[in-house]
Symmetry: C2
Subunit: 338 residues, 2 copies
Amino acid sequence: MAKDQISNIRDVAALAGVSTATVSRALQHPDKVREETRKKVFEAVEKANFVPNANARTFRQQSNRTVILLVRDIGNPFYLEIFKGVEEAASEAGYKVLMGDARDDEARVANHIDLVRQRHADGLILMTGHFPAELRDRPELLPPIVIASETVTGIDLPMVKVDNVKASADAVRYLIAQGHREIAHLAGPLPESLAGERLAGYRQALAEAGLHASDDRIVAGDYSIEAGRHSVRQLLSAKTSFTAIFAASDQMAIGAIGELRQSGLSVPKDVSVVGFDDIIFANAFDPPLTTVRQPRREMGRQAMELMIERLDGGRSHAIIELETELVIRGSVAPRAPN
Amino acid sequence: MAKDQISNIRDVAALAGVSTATVSRALQHPDKVREETRKKVFEAVEKANFVPNANARTFRQQSNRTVILLVRDIGNPFYLEIFKGVEEAASEAGYKVLMGDARDDEARVANHIDLVRQRHADGLILMTGHFPAELRDRPELLPPIVIASETVTGIDLPMVKVDNVKASADAVRYLIAQGHREIAHLAGPLPESLAGERLAGYRQALAEAGLHASDDRIVAGDYSIEAGRHSVRQLLSAKTSFTAIFAASDQMAIGAIGELRQSGLSVPKDVSVVGFDDIIFANAFDPPLTTVRQPRREMGRQAMELMIERLDGGRSHAIIELETELVIRGSVAPRAPN
DNA sequence: CTGAAAGCGCTAACAA
DNA sequence: TTGTTAGCGCTTTCAG
């Protein structure tokens, strides 16, 4: 049996001997329909293998209760736990979440903003520092957007973030406390503001300690493993001296460690390394990575909550700042007295 | 300027002094409209800040040109490159791709299948071994589905996969060639068929070499880092002897190495380890992981191509099998002569 | 509690 | 080349 045809609400109505309005009601607001009628409808639904067409519903209601989470680089495990946090909060409120990959490309951010303008989704949670310049000047054209983890300047949008300056300064202070004086920084893609904030924290800690922040010791990269490798290669080939590295991401820290080892340097004996993010691999690594933990799940959850607020008509411009924590593991050693 | 209102195709038509049909044509099939008219329309679109409502379009066309990629565990970096392959093929054909997380949960698979039945997307690419039993028996209720990387039995769906038995046997043969006789296997979640295939390859290689496959040396897990740790703990506490491990995923291999080290064992000196997948961290790890590389990007691409075929009305039941490659790095050493 | 009917915004036959 | 028109499937007033 089970005709292979796709059935619609009219078929069901006919089968049940009621109107389409009643079918709709029985399905969406069961309490608004008499028990007996409801039963008839459910039976007809069953018999017709009816699945309501969500597109029609979405169209009619002008909302699909879906939010897009656009991340800088879907290859970075950092974003996965954030996704879970977002999804948690979303599903509690009856929203779905889709994840998109910006691939560090401004045009792709613009594309995704367009997707929302076209109503493919109700809102966009942005986790990338790229923001199309032409939209910055025309905030009235923007669909609902919340920024998470990253910093976008020059535009007034709700945000949830951590205090990157403080977190970075803390990490570098720890290195200094371990006796390090020559500390390199693998920065994010300057001049993006997130990268800038972490760099500022690094500089601040050095300054406090009366240490000179040599520009030679700062190398920018795109947070990837490969960028970490590359930056260390650059440092090494320029013969820049350093006994410790503060990396703006765990992936760069991991890449850096790989490269250091290939050059015959031992971590942490010769060079100490601190990362940022506390991705899942950080602890599995050898040595386990000392790093700055961001409250990812919480960050995702709060971002989604800001989004819901916004979607419910609020015009929240909140900026929520969450706490970080320096997780001390094995990749830092006291500076060897030479 | 720029009234903040959302404008629709009628507003634009009025502004341009043409019919809505012409606006639609100018936007979707510009070549079917006279140059001059097109210009008028574009100007009106600009002036009205018009963005076509994709929901209306989707509804009208009964397709949103979107495909969902549902993975076993979005936390496993293995899936990310596959995603890229899928997206590549998809965007060439004008499709969008969304990624969902099955979290190893059959109910979530069923949910996502429902999403497609409800027309939230046109099709589903499944990368998980879980398949709702009640749907297995009712293939006529299934929306377009393609299986990738995983194996789902008892149902006739297009698939792209690797020869897991052969790939696993090759990996274990390599271990045997290095002199290992006591080889443990960190299996996937038995009795799932993907896990079963890799186990079969392991057994096959042992049998060929006349080695006894002791059940004590086989521990099942869910492919995660934590599962790798846990399995090794189990092996160690049962005092099972082994000089090598073949893990059914890189994540389990990485977890296993971490745990071995915590127990004072050295890799590869005391224990050799081979993984499966060649995730990006495999090479960054110390020691770099010897592992079975799956052609992920290609796999994604082909899966999407099967999907497009299916969506275009083909009833392809193809099973595509791709080649794997054993990537030899530093996590295996010849067995120490004792 | 239920039915009739309007209409969400867009596209595609068909006609002009 | 352009306009007219009829819906796509569903939800939601408004009457009854």
